[in-house]
Symmetry: C2
Subunit: 161 residues, 2 copies
DNA sequence: GTTATTGCAAATGATTTGCACAAGG
DNA sequence: CCTTGTGCAAATCATTTGCAATAAC
């Protein structure tokens, strides 16, 4: 990943500034999804100077360079996914009970793309499959470990304003 | 459709007001996608009194009642799709050249859902597949009738702010 | 030295909301 | 009547942007 990022900076002729370094570090340190605000908080812990503007501007650069992808999890803010570099065709399942997001791959999606190209005369560039689902454990057992964990951690469930 | 709407109003105990009637009429008159602002314009032509607030409130009711579905076409405003009542499992392809949106169905998507339920232990409630694609005609022939039509009509191409 | 980059604060723009008035049942 | 629904204007809130100062190269 480090290599990909370095290459990106070189290719784009970007400068290695301090805020940029810190942001890149924060973005690719883990494989979790995050929002601009969450990234801002994380970055702030390392450097209290970095502004939201720089966060947003850097995110835009990374998205443009295909190092990061914007995904829509159904709420009012954009979520960023750093995992497309390693898993270019993965999809998302969002649990409506606990808000947990599960990434999965399914080869059949590729087959659909091929069929679309043939049938509709378009060349597929990118496909986004989002599945909203309910935790079966919660239905059958009346309890869902993820939901409990979510509540305990105090993390807010995703929802539209 | 008329029946579905009436049923919805009755079931919800909603009142039949003039602005509501006009909005419902405008929403289900065609099967085209639209934004809140486009609906507002359309409604305004029939009744110059109706406010944006009422447009948004009515849209929220319809979405809640599953008569309308919000979709994300990649720009900054919500698009509404009135076709899910008749085609509950359709998907969208967005052409990055001309912005045209093509609806399509593909039985394989159902198979994926079934597989997810089995593999991941979630019950699929709703699936959203969006494909971004390029018009092959434009690539091969250098021209795309849709693109030309879009430009002639003066309709803005969809894009992030 | 130049040109890219940053932080700040103000602007944007879609959507939501408080409130007093109007209208449906 | 009594409650739901409406228009208006103001409020929200994530994201963007203009600008002067600062830092890469």
């Amino acid at each position: 990943m480090r290599a990909r990022v370095d290459d990106f900076i070189r290719r784009k002729g970007l400068r290695r500034t301090k805020p940029r370094q810190i942001i890149l570090e924060a973005v690719f340190a883990r494989d979790e999804h995050f929002t601009a605000e969450e990234l801002y908080d994380r970055v702030r812990r390392t450097d209290a100077e970095t502004s939201r503007a720089t966060i947003y501007r850097t995110l835009a650069l990374l998205v443009e360079g295909d190092l990061l992808r914007e995904i829509d999890l159904g709420d009012d803010q954009t979520t960023y996914d750093p995992n497309f570099v390693n898993k270019p065709t993965h999809n998302h399942l969002v649990c409506i009970d606990c808000g947990r997001v599960v990434e999965f791959e399914d080869t059949e999606v590729e087959a659909i793309n091929a069929r679309i190209t043939r049938r509709l005369g378009f060349k597929v560039l990118r496909q986004t499959l989002k599945i909203e689902a309910a935790c079966e454990q919660l239905r059958t057992n009346g309890r869902c470990p993820n939901l409990i964990a979510t509540r305990l951690s105090g993390k807010r469930l995703r929802r539209k304003r």
